[in-house]
Structures are given as C-alpha cells and as structure tokens.
C-alpha cells in the first residue's frame, strides 16, 4: 500500500515538473500562443469551452465504444467459426490480415461516400480498425487448447458445445483480452480518423476529430491542445477499462496476473 502511494506521488511529481517546464519554456521563449500555448492558456480554453469540449468527447466516446463493442462481438463470433471449421479458417484468414494492413485513412473516405456523415460511419471505421486484432488473438486462443484436455472432455462424453463453452472459450480468454486491449487503444484513433472525414459535413457539434480539424484551421491552438488531451484521456480510459475487466476475469488463475500478486 505504502509502495503504491509512493508510485502515485512519483507520477504526480513528474507531471507537475513537466507542466512547469512547459510553462517556463513558453514564458522564456516568448513563442506566440497560436504556435505553442502554455498550460495556463490550455486550462483557460478548457474552462471557457468545456461544454463543447464535453459534447465532442461524448460523440467520439459513442463512436469509439460502439465500434469497439461491435468488433468484440463480431471478432469473437468470427473466431468461433474459424476455430470450429479449419478449412474456412485457412480460406479466410488471409483476408483478416488484409483488414489489418489496409490503411484506414485510405478507406475512410469510401465509407463516408457510401454511408454519409454522422455517428454511424465513424462507428464503422472504428469497427474495421478494431476487428483484426480481436479475430487473430481469439482464434489463436481457441485453437491452441491442449490435445489432452480435449481427450479428457471426450472421455466424459462431452458434446461439441460443452467443449466450446467449458474448455475452448475460457482457455481463449487471456488471448481474447490481449486482442481487446490492442483494439481499445486504437478504437479512439479509429473514431478520430472517421470524424476527420465524416464530422465536417455535419452542421453544429462534431466529435473530437472534427473539432481538431476545425480548431486547427482556425488556429485555436489552445483549444486544439485541449482536444488532444481529451482524446488521450479517452484512449487511456478505454485501455484502463479493458485492463480492469481483464483483471476481474483472470486474476484468480492466470499466470500473467501472478507478478502483481507476489509484490
């Protein structure tokens, strides 16, 4: 416990020092605020425009969370199909790699073209960028079950459904979470990329991606910083949330959670 407090204090001290250095740099160098605003200006921008900042954050959160949730459902579903029928896996697996390598920034305009603007196309962009890691890692977990364990289940006349639910799925959980963790990190990137293209044609409030474009064009650099901070906090929160859920499911038994326990 004492150690954890010290860790938190260390992080806070480092943060304070970095912010202090940033402020000092701005004061001493005299760089204009539209190029590099100081932390005080950023704080002021946050204070003055917190309503629109929160609104943008909310829109991006919906798209990112929606896309991530859909990719988990679809990704695990596809992995289950791949695990059950290996011929299908061999046939289609290369395309999931394609999904991962295609530059999202290049296909986003296409999706906008087909789906128009708004939250939905952004959710789809997020979905696409999140899908491949979940398919790949969950499939890996589902098919790497020890042969002897399957034999053990067969000795007890287990049905294929029992093997899936009581053996393959729990065995795949650590892999699945590893995939979801990666996807949670990039979900926000997907949403912002989508909004970059999709948000602009929408009148009124856009997500963080749209607002970043707008603030950048208007040279509202302090607000741009605020938006970047909001996007970072959002990405970090996703990652942290997944870590928390992962810990809840795995901490009792999985080796990866053992180190924390020993400390």
């Amino acid at each position: 416990m004492k150690r954890q407090i010290i860790t938190v204090l260390n992080v806070l001290v480092v943060f304070a020092v970095l912010v202090g250095l940033w402020q000092a740099l701005v004061w001493i160098s005299g760089i204009p605020g539209y190029v590099l605003p100081g932390p005080s200006e950023v704080a002021k921008a946050i204070g003055a425009r917190h309503a629109s900042l929160l609104a943008s954050l909310l829109i991006s959160t919906i798209s990112a969370a929606g896309g991530l949730a859909l990719s988990i459902i679809a990704g695990v579903g596809i992995a289950l199909v791949f695990a059950q029928w290996s011929w299908l896996r061999r046939m289609l697996y290369p395309y999931t790699i394609l999904l991962q390598t295609v530059p999202i920034i290049a296909i986003t305009p296409l999706i906008i073209l087909w789906m128009g603007s708004g939250i939905w196309p952004v959710t789809v962009v997020t979905f696409i960028i999140c899908l491949a890691p979940i398919i790949a890692s969950t499939t890996q977990g589902l098919i790497s079950v020890d042969k002897n364990l399957i034999d053990l289940f067969l000795m007890h006349k287990a049905s294929p459904a029992q093997v899936l639910v009581k053996l393959r799925l729990p065995h795949a959980m650590p892999n699945m979470f590893a995939g979801i963790r990666i996807s949670a990190g990039i979900a926000v990137i997907g949403a912002i990329t989508g909004e970059w293209f999709a948000g602009s044609s929408r009148v009124g409030q856009g997500g963080l991606g749209y607002s970043i474009m707008y603030a950048s064009a208007q040279l509202q650099t302090a607000y741009l910083f605020a938006l970047v901070i909001a996007a970072t906090v959002l990405g970090f929160s996703f990652f942290f949330l997944v870590m928390l859920v992962e810990w809840y499911f795995l901490h009792n038994w999985h080796e990866s959670k053992r180190v924390a326990e020993a400390e």
Partner: protein, 255 residues
C-alpha cells in the same frame, strides 16, 4: 454368469501411422476385472498409444479391442483417463475441477457437490477446495486429477505415467494411496510407466513392450505376496523382483 466377458480384451490390436509405419503390432492381451496391469518399455515403444487405443481416443488400425464386451468408445463411461500432467483447468477452483466430469455428464448440482466433497476428503484436499491449481504443488495437482477421475465412479482407470513429474518421495506416497484406493473400489487399472520399481510395487502383472514396432515382449507375473505397503519397498523380495523384471526389460531393449 458373465465371467466369459473379460474386462479388457485386445486381439491382434495394431496401430499404424498415416504413412503406414507401424507403431504397435499384434497386441493380444486379456485384463480381468480388478487387475492392476502395468505397461513398461523403452520410450517410443507405443505405451501411451496402447493406453489411448483402450480408451478409444485413437482409432485402431488392425485387430480388435473390447472393453466389457463393448467397443472402447461405447465403454467410455466405465473408464477414466489420468494424464501425465494433472491436466487441470487453471480457471477452475479445485472443487470445480473435481466436479468437471460430473458436470459434463449433467449431474445435478446437489449430487455433484456431495460427490466432490466425498472425493476431496478421499484424497485429503478438503482444505484447499477453493484454491486454484496454480496455488498447488505438483503432488496436490495430481491428487485433484485423481479425484476428478474417480468422481464419475469408473470401473476402469487408465493412467499414463501419472506420477512421472513428481519427486520420488511424493511419487512413492501417491503409489501407496493409489493402491489403497484401488483396493477399496475394486477398479481395473492399466498403468503406463517407465519405472520398473513403480511397476513392481503397484501391479499384479507387468506387460513389457519391445520397440520398433511396439509389441509384447513378455508378460510378467509379479511375485509379491499380499497387499503392498511402505514396508514392501524395504524388503529383499521387492528388490529381487525389481532386478528380475529389470533384466527382462533390458532384454526388450535388446541391450
């Protein structure tokens, strides 16, 4: 009387790789109910394959195997298989691991709970029923594995080098416990090991396999009177038996 049906009967049983290379050839063997039979032989002689054939986990290439007059697959509910590693599900507590077989066979929750508690008491693990496998020692894990195998009331227990990964003292103690359990329940046991001393201590008969391809070299009757205990190991008779059987095993190696 149904005495005519042996518990396990192998007639000319053989197994080939897909390439056609034989692993096991022409195994003929009868195991009676309540027998403790050990299979020994050099590695690669197909000991584990033989056990898997009896369990119906590997299909036969030639000959036939009958378990209580049925095909191995149909006789599965009479059998339990204990693997070399304890093969516990790491995400389940000890008691849920022990209850796995019952759960797969759709036993009711109350029946399961009762049986699991009974099994845990039997192997002396009641105190750790809520622990996870990673918190257990190798010997304890093996006990859980045995409790799980016994929970479904098998008549036949197939064991594939179950104690190979344990230290000698633990292994000796597990052997004594196994004999006690076998005597209480009257199981038929087929036990694979590469330790001649373990085979002599445990079994009434030892099947010695010769390699390339795996075949029965000799079936040895163990000449040890009565029920074996810790003291048995210290007796001169035990040592004589171990060296007698070892000589035959060396013959099977062709050394």
């Amino acid at each position: 009387m149904s005495e005519a049906i042996p518990e396990i009967a192998l007639r000319g049983a053989g197994k080939r790789f897909q390439s056609g290379a034989p692993i096991l050839e022409n195994i003929t063997l009868t195991i009676d109910r309540g027998d403790f039979v050990t299979i020994v032989g050099p590695s690669g002689c197909g000991k584990s394959t033989l056990l898997r054939l009896i369990a119906g986990l590997t299909p036969l290439s030639t000959g036939e195997i009958a378990v209580n007059g049925m095909t191995p697959v149909n006789a599965r509910e009479l059998m339990s298989f204990i693997f070399q590693d304890a093969m516990l599900l790491p995400w389940r507590t000890v008691e849920r691991n022990v209850g796995l077989g019952l759960e797969l066979e759709w036993a009711t929750r109350t029946a399961r709970k009762k049986k699991v508690d009974e099994m845990l008491a039997l192997v002396g693990l009641s105190a750790v029923s809520l622990a996870y496998p990673r918190q257990l020692s190798g010997g304890m894990k093996m006990r859980v594995s045995i409790a799980r195998a016994l929970a479904t009331r098998p008549r036949i227990v197939l064991m594939d080098e179950p104690f190979a990964a344990l230290d000698e003292m633990t292994r000796d103690r597990m052997n004594e416990e196994l004999l006690r359990l076998q005597r209480e329940h009257g199981w038929t046991v087929v036990f694979v090991t590469h330790s001649v001393a373990e085979a002599v201590f445990l079994s009434s008969r030892i099947v010695i396999l010769a390699p390339h391809p795996g075949r029965v070299h000799e079936v040895v009757q163990v000449e040890l009177e009565g029920y074996r205990t810790e003291e048995t190991r210290a007796s001169g008779k035990f040592e004589d038996e171990v060296s007698r059987v070892s000589r035959i095993v060396r013959g099977a190696h062709g050394v």
